[in-house]
Subunit: 335 residues, 2 copies
DNA sequence: GTTAGCAATCAAGTTGGAAGAGTGCTAAAA
DNA sequence: TTTTAGCACTCTTCCAACTTGATTGCTAAC
C-alpha cells in the first residue's frame, strides 16, 4: 500500500511529532532520519501522504501532523514493540518483585510502574468477581450483631464485607451458617448466590429469614459492585504541552472524575490483547482528544485486573506497548 | 478595633469578591450592600482598611481584594455560620441517612455531600487505628497457607489483612491463635501489639516463630498504615475562575496527587474545631495559594475520620463552615 | 464628616507591521 | 522519470504603539 520511502517518511513524522509536539517540517526530517533525499522530495511525499489521509496540516503553510489514520497505520504496521531499555527492564522487574498479600495490590503496583516508566497517567481496576468461582466463604462474628463475610475466589481474589443484623447472633449460629453456605456455594460460580431464598432455607430451617436474607443481599452487593478505580500519575499528564490548553486539562480531569466512564473504558477491551484506541476510535465522546491503551492481565487463566493509560493522541505508542507487553509477560510468568 | 461601618465595608468587599472573583470597586458597593453613603466615602474607608492591612490592591487604579488578614478577620468575626438553606438541609439529611456497613463509608458519604453542596473539592481520610482500642481480633483460615486477620476497634472501625505463610496451617492452630491473640490484645490499645515477640511465645510455645512473626508484622503494618484518601469533586474546582491560570491548576493537581501532603493536611487540625487555614497560614508551601477547611468527626468520642475542603482563598467560608457544622452535628447525633 | 468632580493611573484589548518558518510550484538537473 | 534548487506565497507569532474604560486619590465645596 505505501512504498518503503513513504513508510519511512510517515514513521519519521510520527516519531518526530511524538517527541516535539510541533508540526513537522520537511526540513526537520532531512537532519536525523537518514532519508537520502532533499526536503523538496520529502515535501512531495508529504503531500501525497496527506492526500491519502495519513497526515494533516494545521494551516496552509504549516508542517504536517499525523492524522488518526496515520497513527493507526503506525500502531498496526510501523512501531517497534521492543522499545525498552535495560534500565527500564531492571526497574520494572524490581518493582514487580514487591511481595503482596492481596492480588489487587499487584494490579496497583503494575499500574504505578507503567506510569513511572512511561510518564503517562494510568488507571486500573480489579477483576469483576462475577467471572470467578467461589473457592471458600467464611463468616466471622464481630460483636453480637455484626458479622464479616470473607469470600475467596479461585483466582485468589479476596472480597470481604460487613453484615449487620437486627437481632443477636451467637457463635453456634455462625458455625452453622459457615457450614451451610460453603455447602451450597463452594466451587460454584458466583451467580449461584442468586438461587432463590427458599433453597437456602430448605435444608436449614433453624435460621430465620432475618438472618439469611441480609447475608445474601450483602454478599451479592459486594460481589457485583464495581471495583475501585486507582489513578496513578495524574499530574504527569499536566507536564505535557497538550495540557497548556485549559480545555484539554479540564476535559481530562472530568474524565478521571467520572468513575463509570473510566470503568467502561477499562472493561471494554479484549482480554487477550493490548487494546489501542486512538482519538475518535474511543467509544466515548469525551475521550476523542485522547488515546487510550489498555490490557487485562491474567493469572492462571483468570482475569486479575485491567490497566489503562490515558494520554494524548501523540502518545509514545512504541514505549507504551513495549512496557505493557513486558509487564504482561512478567505478571503471567510470576503466576 | 474596626468601627461598625468599616466592618460593613470589609464584609461587603469580601462577600462581593467571593461572588465575582474580581477586584471590588467603591461603586460596586453602593449598589447592593445598603451602605448609606457615596462611593467617595467608601473609597475613604477602603483606603483606611488598606492601610490597616485588611485589603490589597492589584495595581494603583484597581479595586480592592481582601488580604489574608482580611479573610482571617472575616472568618473570626464577621461570617454567618448558619448560611444554609432548607433545600440544603434536606439534601444533606437524606444523604446522611444512607445505610452503611462500614464506618469509613460514612466519612466518604459526608465528604461527597459537602462537595455537592459547596461545589468545592473535598478530601477525606479514615481514622488512624493507632488512637483506638482493640475490641476483638479474629483469624480465619483461607486455603492452607493463607489467613485473614480481622480487627475490630472500640469505635467500630474494622481493619482486615491477609497473611501468607511458608508452611501449612490447620484449623486447630487458627483456633489457638485466635484465643491467644485475643487473650493478649483484647481491649488493649493498639500499641500493645508492639510487645516483644517473646511475650507472645512465652505462654504458648506450641507455635513457631514462623507463624507468629508474620502475623504480628502484618497486623502492625495494616494498623499503622495511613488510610486511603478519597477525593470528591476534583473537577468542580476546575470551574472556578482561579483555575484559568494553568499554574494554579497544575499546582492543584500536584497537591491532590501527593497523598502524604493531603494526609498531613488532614491530620494536622485540632480535633474539636473546624480548622480554617487561609493561604500562607497552611503549613505546607504548596498550599499557599489555597484555603483549606477541615474537621474531624466523632462518634462516641472517638475520631472517625477527617474531611477537608481545598479551594481558593476566595472560598465561600460562610457556606463551607455552615455546612460542615451542620454535618458535624448530624453525624454526632446519628451516632 | 460627606460628597461631587476631575486628573492620573493602569490593565486589557486592538491594530499594524516585521520576522520567520514552511509550503507549493516551476524549471532545471540527474 | 525522478530529484532538486529556487523563489513566491501563506500564515503564525511576536511586539510595539495606541485606544478604551474602569477605578482611584485628591481637592474643594457642601
Amino acid at each position: 500500500m505505501l512504498d518503503e520511502r513513504k513508510k519511512k517518511v510517515l514513521q519519521a513524522i510520527i516519531e518526530e511529532y511524538i517527541n516535539t509536539a510541533e508540526p513537522v517540517s520537511s526540513n526537520a526530517l532531512t537532519q536525523n532520519y537518514g532519508l537520502e533525499c532533499s526536503s523538496a522530495t520529502i515535501r512531495n511525499e508529504m503531500s501525497e501522504l496527506e492526500k491519502s489521509g495519513f497526515l494533516d496540516k494545521t494551516h496552509t503553510s504549516s508542517g504536517r501532523i499525523p492524522s488518526a489514520k496515520g497513527y493507526r497505520y503506525y500502531v498496526d504496521e510501523l512501531l517497534n514493540d521492543n522499545d525498552i531499555s535495560l534500565e527500564e527492564v531492571k526497574y520494572i522487574s524490581s518493582k514487580l518483585e514487591t511481595k503482596v498479600n492481596e492480588i489487587e495490590d499487584l494490579t496497583k503496583i503494575a499500574a504505578n510502574t507503567i506510569s513511572e516508566v512511561t510518564h503517562y497517567t494510568t488507571v486500573s481496576i480489579g477483576p469483576k468477581a462475577t467471572t470467578q468461582l467461589i473457592e471458600e466463604i467464611k463468616f466471622v462474628l464481630l460483636g453480637t450483631r455484626m458479622m464479616m463475610a470473607v469470600i475467596l475466589t479461585d483466582s485468589g481474589l479476596v472480597k470481604e464485607t460487613i453484615i449487620k443484623f437486627d437481632e443477636d447472633i451467637n457463635e453456634k449460629q455462625v458455625e452453622t451458617i459457615n457450614y451451610m453456605f460453603n455447602n451450597k456455594l463452594k466451587n460454584q460460580p458466583i451467580e449461584t448466590i442468586n438461587r432463590p431464598l427458599e433453597e437456602y432455607l430448605y435444608d436449614e430451617m433453624t435460621y430465620s429469614v432475618n438472618v439469611i436474607k441480609p447475608i445474601i443481599e450483602q454478599i451479592k452487593k459486594v460481589l457485583e459492585e464495581d471495583n475501585k478505580i486507582y489513578l496513578e500519575g495524574t499530574n504527569k499528564s499536566f507536564d505535557l504541552p497538550e495540557f497548556n490548553s485549559l480545555e484539554v486539562a479540564k476535559n481530562f480531569v472530568n474524565i478521571l472524575d467520572t468513575k463509570e466512564l473510566v470503568a467502561d473504558m477499562l472493561n471494554s477491551g479484549f482480554a487477550e490483547d493490548i487494546n489501542v484506541y486512538i482519538g475518535e476510535e474511543n467509544e466515548k465522546q469525551e475521550l476523542k482528544d485522547f488515546s487510550v491503551v489498555t490490557f487485562k492481565h491474567k493469572v492462571n487463566g483468570k482475569d486479575i485486573g485491567t490497566i489503562g493509560i490515558i494520554g494524548p493522541k501523540r502518545m509514545d505508542y512504541s514505549k507504551v506497548i513495549s512496557v505493557m507487553k513486558y509487564i504482561n509477560k512478567k505478571l503471567n510468568g510470576n503466576n
